[in-house]
Symmetry: C2
Subunit: 380 residues, 2 copies
């Protein structure tokens, strides 16, 4: 086998059920990948991440190249060994983080130079060095270096940005070292312009990638324009390769994007929300700082089997976040990742059963119904 | 059974091997109790605490009475239920924390009034209310309210302070509600004055307690004066009741105190050190921020079976602490608690075998030998 094997087993409308085989194991799709920025999914042990049902995690090339350094990780046996995660790992290209550095970066045809946010040291990323770095990290899935087109730019600017990304994608492909079980994904850019998205998708296919990502969304365009752009983009992507929507998102975004044929996701939302006292549940989002939880002996989500829900009350979780205790971050992060994985598992099951439309209707109804009723006298 | 059953099985010199049975299970002694200040052992799940070998944890009455409140914890089923720790819990009296508030407290014969460090609200602790609060928390082991005599005071001041503590101990005993499996410990005070310590120990025995604690040590007197004071104090304590050295200490302190007949310990050192990048090992203390670890693929302690040592390199732990990642605190806390519990288990085994003197000699030799040799070229 060269590259990554992707097997589609069920299609329900445009929603897809598949499996992506990598050098470090299989990823059942649609899949959500927790973000392990600096070689750790924040506030979680790898065992706990695995216990939530996650199969693949994401590492951030930008952070890892700066600290502890890609060559150091290579010497220490690669990212899987370094961080004790034996399963598949996808690394991003670092382009998105560099793009958000704004005044600290300089873009040329060759690549991008930037100053480290840690020590101010100057670094360079080119399509070629980006492949070397991800190779040193031993990523199962490598992403091409691209420029994330900002939202709000005119068509000419968006085209120029997309065309640069396509030239970089070709250079990335050329520099990528093919190995069985390892693959390279191209990234569709083009802002919110359907014609540019079509052209980008076609140019990437002319090069040929193991998978196709949709980049440059969830950067300020809002959910409607995001879904409209996704709607046209996925129609121009090949059926036999996985599709990955980068950096998205909320639970409803995942459901809507799966409906449009997306197979893979990553987002910091469940982990970051866990560290800011927010919990995602079947019945919507809860702020655990809210005083109405302070005497509530019931679990966060009565329908959830994660340790935060199985072993603790809302009152206890509220106490932990009020006292800024680390266990509060740990339990809410665990719960949120568990919820995201349960949501993905539910979608996979629904697609297998040909009932994705029902699943989506039930999902939306339950979210709209809101939280369980407050207990008498506890709605402080 | 009324109160707590304590069974001594082995004595080796003055070192003691025993078992204390409580309403929530047994504590094999000598025992180290991790500190769970605000209803959580910081950065640890209860399962992880149990996995280190800990049998009993300590809760801080001062913190819990302020937040979330003792009556709230009672309504939520008691501290065991609230924090998901089914094993034995000892709560301190709150006196030590109030004592360290300095300008925010006022002491009278009746008790002590103080301002909350959280919201400035005024609170009162008397020997009687202190029993009520610990009863509400459902502590297996309750501590009497006492005044911690500061180090450096003259003999008259130390006597006056000790005598107040003895009057409070009598009132505490009177207010304590006897129940099977629950017990009350008196606290010996008297500063570094052997005669006061003797008198305090005898006056407590005249009242009668389920166990006897040694308070007011490790407050600045230094290790030699601490051990000298402990040496005389334990000779005045009854053999058939457990002895608890409060708030101590470093690994060598535990070994020295067990040698003098102490059965129980608590200290924030292993957990606090874990959150400040310090690791305790058989070969001494390591600062994981040190750059010499950054390329070292070896475990923190090759002889340790805890997850931090079994699954990760020194290089990875160094990376986590440099990046201020929560997993770094989690793993170092776990390791330190595991190390403390292994140390206690080693002492228990040595006392059973009648070889405590050998154990102590080996312990000191290994600590003095220092860390494993640096790898070539990694001693940056």
């Amino acid at each position: 086998m060269t590259g990554l094997t992707f097997t589609l087993s069920h299609v329900d409308g445009r929603a897809r059920r598949g499996r992506l085989d990598t050098a470090h194991g299989a990823i059942e799709t649609p899949a959500f990948m927790p973000v392990g920025t600096a070689a750790t999914v924040k506030a979680m042990t790898p065992d706990a991440v695995r216990a939530t049902g996650a199969q693949c995690i994401l590492g951030n090339t930008y952070h890892l190249m700066l600290r502890p350094g890609a060559e150091r990780i290579r010497r220490l046996g690669g990212l899987h060994e370094f961080m004790n995660w034996p399963g598949p790992i996808l690394t991003d290209s670092g382009g998105f983080q560099v793009w958000s550095l704004k005044d600290l970066r300089k873009l040329t045809e060759d690549g991008v130079t930037f100053k480290s946010h840690i020590d101010g040291a100057r670094h360079e990323l080119t399509p070629e060095s980006c492949m070397d770095i991800q190779n040193a990290l031993d990523a199962d899935i490598t992403m091409v270096l691209d420029e994330c087109t900002p939202f709000g730019v005119d068509g000419d600017t968006a085209r120029a940005s997309m065309e640069l990304s396509m030239r970089w994608a070709r250079r990335s492909r050329k520099a990528f070292e093919d190995r069985p079980g390892y693959g390279l994904f191209g990234i569709v850019q083009g802002g919110v312009y359907p014609e540019l998205r079509r052209e980008s998708a076609e140019r990437l296919q002319a090069v040929g990638f193991d998978g196709y990502a949709v980049g440059g969304l969830a950067v300020g365009e809002g959910p409607e324009l995001m879904l409209a752009t996704l709607d046209t983009t996925t129609t121009h992507l090949p059926d036999d390769r996985p599709r990955y929507l980068m950096g998205v998102g909320k639970p409803e975004d995942l459901v809507n994007a799966v409906e449009l044929g997306i197979d893979m996701f990553d987002c910091v939302l469940p982990t970051r929300s866990g560290r800011t006292d927010q919990a995602f549940t079947r019945r919507g989002q809860l702020n655990m700082r809210n005083a109405r939880h302070k005497d509530d002996p019931r679990p966060l989500d009565p329908d959830c089997a994660c340790p935060a829900c199985a072993d603790y009350s809302r009152a206890y979780l509220h106490h932990l976040v009020q006292a800024r205790e680390i266990l509060g971050l740990m339990l809410l992060t665990w719960h949120n990742l568990h919820y995201y994985q349960e949501l993905m598992a539910g979608m996979r099951q629904a697609i297998e059963a040909g009932s994705f439309a029902d699943f989506k209707r039930d999902f939306l109804a339950q979210q709209a119904a809101g939280d369980i009723e407050p207990l008498n006298g506890t709605d402080a």
